[in-house]
């Protein structure tokens, strides 16, 4: 049986719960286009925002993993850390820093409401806003700790 990576499981988790009731809105109050994706797509990020009209990206990165070993030396589980980066840029009708704020609130709501299954919790966040030559990508990276058994 294939054991899914923590990265893949986290994307499934966010696909299920993140923004499921269109919590994230633009400056005018209407729902905006939000996607959940894997990190490092072979596609320019500016085109995601400009050509595809996406207002907020929740991007799931590769995980760090540490095995949890039983007293008999056999692993019984894994403690994994999965980065989730929220990214937005200023567009018509969308102020990046405001939509990012709503994304953060939504990500916290998901973590606070659904910690079970495999055990997930937010363990920290860091701002990672970058200048991309002509525009800023406003970003914040959250880290989910993800404790699960062998499956």
């Amino acid at each position: 049986m294939v054991v899914y990576s923590a990265q893949r499981n986290m994307k499934t988790y966010l696909d299920t719960y993140f923004n499921d009731a269109a919590q994230i809105t633009g400056d005018g109050g209407g729902a905006v286009n939000v996607i959940v994706a894997f990190d490092n797509p072979n596609y320019p990020i500016s085109r995601v925002f400009i050509d595809k009209g996406v207002k907020l990206i929740a991007s799931v990165g590769q995980s760090e993993s540490q095995s949890i070993v039983d007293s008999d030396h056999y692993p019984v589980g894994y403690d994994e850390k999965v980065p989730v980066t929220l990214a937005a840029m200023d567009q018509a009708g969308v102020t990046a820093i405001l939509v990012l704020e709503k994304g953060e609130a939504e990500l916290r709501r998901v973590a606070e409401t659904y910690p079970f299954g495999s055990l997930r919790r937010i363990t920290g966040s860091n701002p990672e806003t970058e200048w991309h030559g002509g525009f800023y990508i406003f970003k914040v990276q959250y880290v989910f700790s993800y404790k699960r058994n062998l499956t």
Partner: protein
């Protein structure tokens, strides 16, 4: 393959082979001449045989061979029997048989005729959908002695999914130490000793499978993880010991369970649901007539 620790729970019938039930056994001789049933140190039965001819069969029945549904135990509800035995020679044979309610499949030999000069313990699954009427402890095949130390029929053995936060086994010596007035240092005394201690620190957040599966903290119909230990603790009044298997550490013996400690430890961003279990070695008599291998079941 990892072998996890396991422990019995849910006693239906226990004969600890002391004086309690000894007088209730009934004797049957078919070629074996059985001495009166004895208990040694109020700890184990001695089935002495002084004559052996003909079919060379002799057994003690609990409660007896008459009546029906005397134990009246469902083998579906209580599917396991554990027996500890030894013989004083390789000629005489131990054997244990469960006799089912009339109309069932008759009986089941749960310990086939066998000899062992050291204590052995066997765990046997009982044929399901039967009603156990009575049991027979045999001493067959020759003159000599068969010893039985306990017979336990129970709901099962719970496999402990992990001891991820630590496992301590502290086998105790067979002496006590005391302070001598006016002297420095302890004196040793062989009049008694502390029990051995096993401590397991478990992570309730980690298990596998579904409810009721081996490897899961929940038995079928359990409400909280590790509930089996509340079951064991609550029923300790009527279940004087449990049989523990230490898993890969190797070792099987009788224990009692101290109060299980369910604790939830938190740090700033993490909560852990933990369970601490402290087991104490249980004995009715001294360990003087056992080797350390027999005492701790290292050869089982």
């Amino acid at each position: 393959m990892s072998v996890k620790p396991s422990i019995t729970y849910g006693h239906a019938f226990l004969d600890d082979c002391g004086v309690d039930l000894m007088s209730l056994y009934a004797k049957t001789e078919d070629g074996q001449t059985l001495q009166a049933l004895e208990t040694i140190d109020d700890d184990y039965y001695k089935l002495g045989v002084t004559g052996s001819i003909g079919n060379k069969i002799g057994f003690w029945s609990y409660p007896d061979e008459g009546g029906s549904d005397e134990l009246a135990l469902s083998s579906t509800a209580y599917p396991f029997i554990i027996i500890r035995y030894k013989t004083n020679s390789s000629s005489i044979k131990a054997k244990v048989e469960l006799v089912f309610h009339a109309g069932g499949s008759g009986s089941q030999v749960v310990l086939a005729e066998t000899s062992s000069l050291t204590w052995k313990t066997v765990v046997v699954a009982i044929t399901p959908s039967e009603t156990i009427d009575h049991l027979r402890l045999y001493a067959n095949g020759a003159t000599g002695i068969v010893y039985y130390e306990f017979i336990l029929i129970c709901k099962g053995q719970f496999q402990i999914p992990n001891t991820a936060n630590g496992f301590d086994f502290d086998p105790a010596p067979r002496y006590a130490e005391y302070i001598v007035p006016g002297a420095v240092g302890n004196e040793r005394d062989c009049m008694g000793a502390e029990p051995s201690i096993v401590t397991m620190n478990c992570d309730l957040d980690i298990d596998t499978g579904s409810i009721g599966d081996v490897g899961n903290w929940l038995r079928t119909a359990d409400v909280i993880k590790g509930e089996v230990f509340i079951d064991i603790s609550h029923n300790a009044k009527s279940e004087p010991f449990q049989w523990i298997d230490l898993g890969d550490l190797i070792g099987q013996f009788k224990v009692t369970l101290d109060k299980p400690d369910f604790n939830r430890r938190t740090s700033q961003s993490e909560a852990n649901h933990l369970l601490e279990l402290i087991f104490k070695e249980y004995r009715r008599g001294p360990a003087n007539d056992e080797t350390y291998i027999e005492r701790f079941g290292l050869d089982l």
